[in-house]
């Protein structure tokens, strides 16, 4: 019996409830995607489930892998850029004196918002579809500065040190304006206003810039107010409300944002750049600088991770303007200080969660409201806030009344943006801590309470339906291993036989959080790929998808190899170059395996058809009885076979009508099947000091069929690391004038090797019929779990509830003191 069958056996949904939901699900306009024929037992799809060596691993361990900055030696005349940033939180630039900087030997140019090479068009830096669901509120350099770190001018010079020195000599005079730093104060009528009406285009739903409101949104299923009223009137039900708060988090990308911009010998504008979104960047550069898309080429070399911070055209326009000013190739490389103060972050939020629940643990209504601090600009502001509800609330899809609302407001602080998890880490903290609190107040087992209400295969997926009307996005859950994740996670953490420490002041507890994410942006994705065969039986795979360090290129080669019947190393991957590869939206929203991977599969299947045609000619058998495998086309009937090499040579050089064997594949869908998980945390709390030790983290994940399980585990362990930081040590702070306190790794609480507890990762296999070889995406899922699971574990250990991230020993101690005070 396969793992997936085991998973569904454990489903505890009653048959009649299941039947009713099935009926509801199928009576709508649910697109019942046909099950794929590729559901094979694990040992029959070894190209998929094997841990193929990561294709760049040897280059990385020998230091030969080239990231953007390592291309400097290709450009003997390379100049170096440096950005001059605002040192006030809010104001207008009155004048920029560049003379002292320009007088320095070795300085090519100094550019300001008032120069011709610097576009004054409004745009969004968000690497999203077109038009971006983010306001156009940025200019390349800024006359109206809105946070400490806003780019005002930039210098290009012979070498980095000269650029630095020149940047310090740029003299900017400001007319300062009042600033606002608290998102709730930003709403006030007399609060300083960040944007005038003519300073934003492409406004998003519910915007009211007179109140610094970038977006307001809400959606409701059923009648939430009536349900709360009804529950309040009854003895067997109650209404429970909680509030939660999260801080800024830094992506801490290992490789700072770096771009080399130049114009090549064919007059085409080329960007070698650390980006997750080459095609969106190409489009945005073209629009911003009024050049045809076809004349812009964006290439992504190896990239030192992104985590969403590179789902942004954060520095490319400045690099290009400097290139135009200098007339030679320019490299612009961010410092770590710029990464921590001026680039992009996870949005801080305040959330309120309210449920109506019966004493038996049936949830009658859920209401989640979020206030997101977008900082100075609106990139990803609304869409991240949307995900606060649309990712975790559908964990409980049978709750009859659900409401989700949000406000996204501007303050004079750095800008929130996309970050791995994309609103779901905030949302899971609120929803999954709240659910635990509800269970404990009702004296129910927190896990059983969750499972009583949690999603099952066949449930309607509400992740889009909560905020969007219309049948197009009505769909059902086709794969869900969440109960198996819980069962195996409980076992691994020792949930049922936890031993308490001997010392009286130490208390041990376990907390759990259910987790969901998506696989791409439902209805807003496109991936494409091409396969071309070489005469020796190897293949080139050209794919728009972007490997940000995850091993996606390796995964692509495994998918293609499984279809084409060759080993993965016979597939050469050429990826993420807007000149050489088909289009792709880019690496974000957990889209790479599910969307780009499926495009690869489609392309390989297209090529396989031609392979079988040629095999049929060589073997003199009909293509219908042929298949690929072991580097051959073989007959299922006679066992006759021809090697891919024979076919390659025959198709290329044979006497018969010749053909270059090619395959094309696209993938675009309204589907976004959620991967599921269960995060467990085992903690020991010292009730005297409030200090706590994490004993163990367990993450059990259902990402459908795990393609290259070792790479999948790596995604989970890395995601948990970020989640651990968010729960225990991350966050940015600012002084009263909006100046950042965190300038580098020394001040930022990023966990090191010695801060990590034991981690156990469990892969629970299900089969997602719409995914490539049954796969769903995995990268963001594990970013969501530690804050709620740890809040729940501390509650379990010592009875106090922590509601504000990160949890410090002082927070725990304060909560314990308050509890003791209350009891006195």
């Amino acid at each position: 019996m396969s793992d997936s069958e085991k998973a569904s056996d454990l489903d505890d949904g009653t048959d009649s409830a299941r039947a009713e939901e099935e009926k509801a699900a199928t009576s709508g306009t649910v697109d019942d995607a046909a099950s794929e024929p590729d559901r094979k037992a694990p040992d029959e799809r070894e190209n998929i489930t094997t841990n193929a060596e990561k294709d760049d691993a040897r280059k990385i361990v020998t230091g030969e892998a080239r990231y953007t900055a390592d291309y400097r030696d290709r450009f003997p005349d390379l100049a170096h850029g440096k950005v001059v940033r605002s040192d006030i939180a809010h104001g207008h630039v009155e004048s920029v004196d560049t003379s002292a900087a320009e007088a320095l030997e070795g300085v090519d140019a100094v550019i300001t918002p008032f120069d011709d090479v610097v576009p004054d068009k409004l745009y969004s830096s968000s690497g999203q579809s077109y038009p971006e669901p983010s306001p156009w509120d940025l200019t390349v350099l800024r006359e109206h500065v809105r946070f400490v770190g806003d780019p005002v001018a930039a210098v290009v010079a012979e070498d980095p040190e000269t650029a630095d020195r020149a940047a310090r000599k740029v003299d900017i005079e400001y007319r300062e304006l009042d600033a606002v730093f608290d998102p709730e104060e930003a709403f006030d009528e007399d609060a300083p206003q960040l944007f005038e009406a003519n300073e934003v285009e492409n406004k998003q739903s519910g915007a009211d810039y007179s109140r610094n409101l970038e977006s307001h949104f809400e959606g409701e299923i059923g009648d939430v107010d009536a349900a709360f009223e009804n529950a309040g009137d009854r003895d067997n039900a109650r209404v429970i409300e909680t509030t939660w708060e999260t801080p800024y988090q830094s992506h801490c990308v290992p490789e700072p944002h770096t771009t080399i911009a130049y114009t090549d010998e064919d007059d085409r504008h080329v960007f070698i750049t650390s980006t997750q979104v080459p095609f969106h960047t190409r489009r945005q550069i073209a629009h911003l600088f009024d050049v045809p898309i076809r004349d812009v080429r964006v290439t992504k070399p190896r990239i030192g991770a992104g985590f969403g911070s590179k789902q942004e055209m954060a520095i490319e326009p400045i690099a290009f303007a400097l290139h135009l000013a200098a007339g030679r190739p320019v490299k612009l490389e961010m410092t770590r200080r710029e990464e921590f103060t001026a680039l992009r972050f996870r949005h801080p939020m305040r959330m309120r969660m309210k449920t109506a629940v019966t004493d038996d643990g049936d949830i009658e209504a859920m209401d989640l409201d979020t206030l997101s601090n977008s900082g100075a600009y609106g990139t990803h502001g609304m869409t991240v806030a949307n995900n606060v509800g649309t990712k975790p609330l559908p964990l409980y899809p049978r709750v009859p009344n659900v409401r989700f609302s949000g406000d996204v407001v501007h303050t004079n602080l750095p800008m929130g943006a996309a970050m791995r998890g994309y609103g779901a880490p905030q949302g899971h903290f609120a929803v999954e801590s709240h659910m635990d609190e509800v269970a404990r107040r009702l004296d129910l087992d927190p896990i059983e309470f969750r499972l009583q209400n949690a999603v099952r295969e066949g449930d309607l997926d509400r992740s889009v339906a909560i905020l969007k009307d219309g049948d197009r996005f009505t769909r059902k859950i086709r794969s869900c291993g969440i109960r198996e994740c819980v069962r195996r996670g409980k076992e691994a953490i020792g949930y049922d036989d936890l031993e308490q420490p001997e010392a009286d002041h130490l208390h041990r507890g376990v907390g759990m959080a259910l987790i969901a994410q998506g696989s791409g942006v439902a209805g807003k994705e496109l991936g494409a790929a091409q396969v071309k065969m070489n005469e020796d039986g190897s293949f080139h795979l050209q794919v728009g998808g972007v490997d940000t360090g995850t091993g996606a290129d390796t995964m692509f080669s495994q998918i293609a190899a499984e279809v084409l019947g060759c080993p993965p190393e016979d597939v050469v991957v050429i990826a993420a170059d807007t000149d050489l590869t088909p289009f792709d939206y880019g690496a974000y929203a957990s889209s790479t395996t599910y969307i780009s991977g499926r495009a690869v599969k489609n392309a390989a299947e297209d090529a396989k058809e031609r392979l079988l045609e040629w095999g049929a000619k060589l073997l003199d058998e009909p293509p219908e009885v042929l298949d690929t495998g072991d580097g051959r086309v073989y007959s299922r009937e006679t066992g006759n076979r021809a090697s891919l090499e024979e076919i390659g040579y025959e198709a290329t050089y044979g006497d018969d009508q010749r053909e270059h064997i090619l395959g094309d594949g696209n993938h675009s869908t309204d589907e976004s099947p959620p991967p599921y998980g269960a995060q467990f945390v085992d903690v020991t709390v010292n009730e005297e000091t409030g200090e706590y030790d994490l004993n163990k983290l367990v993450f059990a994940a259902d990402c459908g069929v795990a393609i290259n399980p070792a790479l999948v585990e790596g995604q989970i362990e890395g995601g948990e690391h970020m989640s651990l930081e968010y729960a225990t040590s991350g966050g940015l702070s600012f002084d009263d004038d909006g100046n950042p306190d965190v300038l580098g790794f020394r001040q930022y609480g990023m966990p090191r090797t010695t801060d990590h507890p034991e981690m156990e990762t469990i892969l629970v296999e299900t089969h997602e019929p719409t995914g490539p070889f049954g796969a769903k995406s995995i990268a963001e899922l594990p970013t969501n779990g530690v804050p709620p699971a740890l809040s729940n574990a501390i509650r379990d250990a010592v009875g106090v509830r922590l509601t504000e991230l990160p949890f410090t020993a002082d927070d725990v101690k304060a909560a314990l003191d308050e509890q003791a005070g209350g009891e006195r």
Partner: protein, 192 residues
């Protein structure tokens, strides 16, 4: 081209066994100079001395090259990650990082490998705690440190002549096991 913002000085270095004279600007750090001379396995991930990506051996000692003035290294012997092994003939630590999938974006990996080699030189049989302490100033954002720590422990075992416990079951990198050729629980080296 060196940073010309100040006075340039000539520095004598032996880099990965090759003696050379390099020109270093007064504002340059050793990492910048090494990178300018093609040693791109020396990475710069912070503004100096806080992430560990630029670690190299300077006269046998691990140093963050970004926090070191070139003049300080004058006359020294430098070894970067490139000196440890080649893609076809990896150092056991490099091989263990590959086999244990300890590499994701890879930006921090050269520095981590240098530190791991130094650890195993002085302590061939470290505990997990000792590995974690040795790597505690190497910042990695992708892996949660789990597989790098496993890789170092695996490398230690390999260097002591023990069977690999890599995530790939210790198989050669050439591909998956053939049917009927079960890799067993540890790659065939134990009797389960």
């Amino acid at each position: 081209m060196p940073n010309t913002g100040g006075i340039s000085v000539d520095i004598e270095l032996t880099i990965n066994g090759e003696r050379t004279t390099v020109e270093a600007g007064s504002a340059d750090d050793l990492a910048t100079v090494l990178r300018q001379h093609g040693y791109i396995g020396v990475k710069c991930g912070c503004d100096g001395g806080t992430c560990g990506a630029s670690k190299v051996f300077v006269d046998g000692e691990v140093r963050m090259a970004c926090g070191m003035a070139p003049r300080e290294a004058d006359g020294s012997e430098i070894r970067t990650v490139a000196a440890l092994g080649t893609q076809d003939d990896l150092h056991p630590v490099q091989q263990a990082f590959v086999d244990n999938f300890a590499v994701q974006c890879g930006f921090c990996i050269p520095g981590m490998i240098i530190q791991a080699v130094a650890l195993l030189d002085s302590n061939p049989d470290p505990s997990e705690r000792e590995v974690r302490e040795a790597l505690s100033d190497n910042v990695c954002r992708c892996t949660g440190y789990q597989k790098p720590v496993e890789a170092v422990l695996d490398a230690a075992g390999r260097m002591r002549g023990e069977q690999s416990v890599a995530a790939d079951g210790g198989q050669p990198a050439s591909g998956p096991p053939q049917p009927g050729e079960s890799a067993g629980c540890c790659g065939g080296g134990c009797d389960e």
